[in-house]
């Protein structure tokens, strides 16, 4: 039986919980290979060995997994490696001074400092680039890989309290557009956030927020259920289109 391996950051947690709940038996097809917290993805955290056709995670804070088609097959035939890494706005919105710095078109208050589009793109690039490079490296060594989006921001997150929603939404959109373009240009399938979890304003619905009162970053088991189903759908389509892989 072929498998799906889900690897990456803490956003794996929601899907694991959904699997543990047993509500959707199909999720049992997913194996988990957590690497560690997302902040490591800002660093040079992996090495590519072209000759051996593998990608090794090298950062001391992460599980030092060596990814190769052979290792992932594990006698069962890998259907898809799904990667969850910070190519979303969570960290961008949390760590940057969007209460003071805003996209130039959105400058509204005298205290706000307008940023050029190029500066914002650079901020996004420096946040996402190594994660995207990791996905590209896996793809390059012949691993069938897809990238899973993390959830959009939750509007009630305390770290957004001083930031205008339209500013956050703008950054969110720019981040996704950048990441999507990079991933799709590399011919890597993208598993988007399930539409049912997104409110009309484009944010993640509060009902899908993690049950921990202070966690405004992760989704809950209900979120994981939908995200897991999205993974299975994409995996099924990919397998149909290229069953020999």
């Amino acid at each position: 039986m072929s498998r799906i391996v889900l690897t990456g950051d803490s956003h794996l947690g929601a899907i694991k919980r959904a699997q543990d709940s047993g509500d959707d038996p199909r999720l049992a097809d997913i194996d988990f290979l957590p690497l560690g917290v997302g902040s490591v993805s800002l660093t040079d955290f992996f090495q590519v060995d072209q000759a051996a056709r593998n990608v090794k995670v090298t950062h001391k804070k992460w599980n030092n997994v060596t990814f190769s088609q052979q290792m992932l097959n594990n006698n069962e035939g890998l259907k898809l490696l799904v990667l969850s890494l910070p190519i979303n706005s969570t960290r961008l919105l949390r760590e940057h001074s969007w209460h003071r710095h805003v996209p130039w078109r959105l400058k509204k208050h005298d205290r706000e400092i307008p940023l050029s589009d190029a500066v914002i793109r650079t901020i996004i690039e420096q946040d996402c680039t190594k994660s995207i490079e990791f996905a590209k490296a896996l793809h390059m060594v012949g691993i069938k890989v897809a990238v899973m989006e993390g959830p959009r921001f939750f509007t009630d997150a305390p770290h957004l309290a001083r930031k205008r929603v339209e500013v956050c939404a703008d950054i969110e959109q720019r981040c996704r557009e950048f990441a999507h373009a990079q991933i799709q240009n590399a011919n890597i399938p993208l598993i988007k956030q399930p539409a049912k979890t997104i409110d009309p304003a484009g944010n993640t619905k509060a009902e899908f927020r993690h049950i921990a009162p202070k966690d405004f970053t992760h989704g809950n088991a209900a979120y994981g259920q939908l995200a897991g189903a999205a993974i299975l759908d994409v995996a099924s389509k990919i397998n149909e289109s290229s069953p020999g892989l």
Binding site: D9, S10, L12, G13, A14, K16, R17, D20, F32, P34, G36, V37, G38, S39, V40, L42, T43, R91, L92, R94, E95, H96, S97, W98, R100, H101, W104, K107, I113, P114, L115, S116, D117, A118, V119, T122, I123, Q126, H210, I211, A212, K214, D215, T217, H218
Partner: protein, 356 residues
């Protein structure tokens, strides 16, 4: 018989003990601050490219460099520098001449406005008054104007809030727009823009012009409050890249720097709360034997920069301990909060240990 004046002078007044008998790194007492500069003194810095070394050194030593247009938090230092954040107190780019400094001040104080000029290259828009402020220009004139408006606002804030304004005079050769009377920091057509001999005017500023503009800009800034800031003038030791004067570039460099040095010195002698700091001499004087230049004999090397700044800090009055400097740049993980890491670790631990 009365002593002549030289008999009572300090040893630093005599070449032999102060210079000839010393190793070049032991030549000291070149400058002492004529006004108080403490770690709490808010210092704004502008001028030619050499001025940026002041901001870096002040920050590194925990002094209160006034950054009125800070980079967004989290932008890596190397990227902030590419976009000219943290170079001067506002994102003005290089201000090479005293007249350009006056132009920025006039805009900041609402006495004039930037003319409606934009330069285009390969579909991107460049600010004629900050042509290198964004490495690939702007997407539109509106974006450029929004950025410049912020720089003017931040410049205003810096000159109004500062206790000391450091200005490094860089050039006498300047380029002007005939129609509007505005001065460009660079000749149109060199980096971007198109040169038009009918529209663009070359002025090699003389001593009177440099000094007059310097006096005016100091007066303008001082007039913004009851007790204006002190001014510290320096002259960039960096030679001209090129000259349009018709002279050999070496001759033009010496001529230009001599004019700037004389004007800065005259301003320091005649205007209250204005001082001159000898960075030009520290790099260029014969006893230093061009030690502080890179092989191209133009770029100042790190040793030179460090020696200039060491001289500056040595000349300050005995101080209270400097404030803590900023964290070292390049620590990428520092851009993520401890709290986020904790939340993510907790999520991984709980999800994969069977906890709810």
């Amino acid at each position: 018989m009365a002593q002549n004046p030289y008999q009572t002078l300090d040893p630093k007044s005599f070449w032999s003990p102060a210079v000839a008998q010393r190793n070049l790194f032991d030549i000291d007492d070149l400058w002492s601050a004529p006004f108080e500069i403490t770690p709490k003194t808010r210092i704004a810095t502008y001028g030619s490219c050499f001025a940026q070394h002041f901001s870096r050194a002040l920050v590194a030593r925990g002094y209160s460099w006034l950054n009125a247009e800070p980079a967004p938090r989290g932008l890596y230092p190397e990227n902030a520098k590419i976009f000219n954040y943290g170079v001067f107190s506002a994102r003005t780019g290089n201000i090479y001449t005293t007249s350009l400094f006056k132009q920025w001040t006039s805009w900041a104080l609402g006495q004039s406005s930037p003319p409606d000029i934009a330069w285009e290259k390969s579909g991107r828009i460049y600010d004629p008054f900050r042509p290198a402020i964004e490495p690939n220009g702007f997407s539109s004139i509106d974006e450029m104007q929004a950025s410049r408006a912020q720089a003017i606002k931040s410049f205003r804030k810096s000159i109004i809030k500062s206790d000391v304004v450091v200005f490094t005079l860089g050039l006498t050769e300047s380029w002007w727009d005939k129609t509007t009377g505005a001065e460009f920091p660079m000749c149109p057509g060199t980096v971007v823009g198109d040169f038009d001999p009918l529209e663009h005017l070359f002025v090699n500023q003389d001593y009177d012009f440099v000094l007059q503009n310097l006096k005016e800009v100091i007066a303008m800034i001082s007039a913004t409050r009851a007790k204006g800031p002190s001014f510290l003038l320096t002259v960039s030791p960096v030679p001209l890249t090129a000259t349009n004067s018709g002279d050999h570039v070496l001759v033009a460099t010496m001529s230009s720097k001599s004019v700037l040095r004389a004007a800065a010195g005259q301003a320091a002698r005649t205007i209250e709360a204005v001082s001159y700091f000898p960075s030009y001499e520290i790099i260029n004087a014969p006893p230093y034997r061009a030690t502080f230049f890179e092989p191209n004999m133009r770029s100042v090397n790190l040793n030179g920069v460090n020696h200039v700044m060491k001289t500056f800090f040595a000349g300050l009055q005995p101080q209270e301990a400097p404030l803590a400097g900023p964290p070292a740049p390049g620590l990428q993980e520092a851009t993520t909060s401890f709290g986020e890491d904790l939340a993510c670790e907790e999520e991984l631990l709980s999800a994969f240990s069977g906890r709810p």
